[in-house]
């Protein structure tokens, strides 16, 4: 069988991404009992654990929104970010064997992982919202268009971060030691379990530099009608996402041969 005679670059890219996505799905979930159910169970367990802890601490976190939903809106985007970040660092090392196929370069490995991460995130978000609503935990839905826009931007942001970390992690293997050190504090300052308006005003200036915080605030605003992300700034999220994406693409473009080249 001849490999598809004279494929165009786009066709090659599409074939490679498609093959990688199938492979990622199989390796990530195929080996476990319950298989693909883990797509849902993974974030669900995380959210339930957090929600359980915070439900014990007392009353509603945010007036008009059940704690469970509040946490879901914060933690789901954060898991995506954290996975893209840490998988990016290891993207080259863990796929070395695959670069023996000339059409598969680190970019494809990173892009397919970010795509898969997003697909899982969106799917599990919708299903979890559905399940919670079935149990009677629901809030009035707000703005679908806003969600589409911010998730497109967030995708660019994650791809940019992942590409940057892919280059960093390969050029400086020590980066894999620092990666968790960067992600963990972000968990506490990105508004995963608080809203910016609950923080004293004097800290807003510092916290609002973090694009992730804006993403989380905007996600909640898009999901829940009674949420007012009054400090969330869409233009800021858009700018920082596009800058991050451009930066990631540039760094990758200038360095990609070195990632695969024998030194």
């Amino acid at each position: 069988m001849y490999p598809g005679i004279q494929r165009s670059p786009w066709q090659i890219q599409r074939d490679v991404i498609r093959a990688l996505l199938i492979r990622e799905m199989k390796t990530r979930f195929g080996k476990w009992r319950l298989g693909y159910a883990w797509v849902l169970l993974e974030p669900a367990m995380h959210i339930l654990l957090l929600a359980a802890i915070f439900s014990f601490t007392g009353a509603e976190f945010y007036p008009g929104i059940p704690t469970m939903l509040f946490m879901l809106g914060g933690i789901a985007p954060f898991i995506v970010f954290s996975n893209c970040f840490s998988k990016g660092v290891a993207a080259v090392e863990s796929n070395r064997g695959l670069f023996n196929y000339r059409q598969l370069r680190p970019f494809d490995a990173v892009l397919s992982r970010v795509l898969l991460e997003f697909a899982i995130y969106l799917f599990s978000l919708v299903v979890l919202l559905g399940i919670l609503a079935w149990f009677g935990i629901s809030a009035r839905f707000n703005d679908f268009l806003l969600l589409v826009v911010i998730n497109l931007l967030f995708f660019g942001f994650c791809l940019g971060i992942s590409l940057t970390m892919c280059v960093m992690g390969t050029k400086f293997p020590e980066a894999s030691k620092f990666a968790p050190m960067i992600v963990r504090p972000l968990y506490f300052i990105s508004g995963v379990f608080f809203s910016l308006e609950q923080v004293p005003e004097e800290y807003h200036g510092y916290l609002s530099w973090n694009p992730l915080l804006h993403m989380i605030e905007l996600t909640r605003e898009g999901l829940f009608a009674s949420y007012h992300g009054m400090f969330a700034n869409l233009p800021y999220l858009a700018t920082s996402s596009l800058v991050m994406l451009a930066f990631g693409l540039l760094v990758y473009r200038s360095q990609w041969r070195d990632l695969v080249r024998s030194q």
Binding site: M1, P3, R23, N100, Y101
Partner: protein
Amino acid sequence: MIELRNLTKSFRTPAGRKVLFRDVNAFFPEGKNIGILGRNGAGKTTLLRIMGGIDYPDSGRVITDQRISWPMGLSGGFQGSMTGRENAAFVCGLHGIWGSAKRKVLDRVQDFAEIGDYFDAPVKSYSSGMRSRLAFGLSIAVDFDYYLVDEVMSVGDAHFKHKCEQVIEEKRKSANFIIVAHSMPTLKKNCDVGLYLGPSGLQIFDTVDEAIRLYQQGLPKPAQNSPAQP
């Protein structure tokens, strides 16, 4: 057609950079089988991989309009938790082979590899011989203009070896090979053009015999005194 243009490659060593070859220019017309010779560590595999577009030179380019395979019999890209079939399907996908064409290729792989039901078992449960059978079968089942062969014509047991030789003989009618080997008979039998990677860089010969002669000149004295063919 494969053209090497101003190709330079060096490696970092503790004692500074070691240049494998510098400013190599060469043109190989279609239908030439290329043999690469040299001592261990001379950069044969690196040159092979650069020609195949897998590795990159420090400077210069490889220009080609041919479909070049991955190194034949390579099993490094296999994912242990996936079955042989799934791994083979993945490689087919990379090369744009889907649907019924893919099933045909998979049948060919299964036929050739002779690993029976293990084809649907996770690759991590394979013995190393089975692994290379699968890898070799996969290389054979996807058609290319040029195949890269890196000293792997000798995998598996005698029976399988014989089968490989037959298949390569068959393939030679429709495809070409770039071969790295230390076995002179293999090179003599399969190659037209010889590349010798020596201390003074890369030398290119129109016949593989000249390259072999130069390579054997570099052998230590005792070998020269008793001119037994290896």
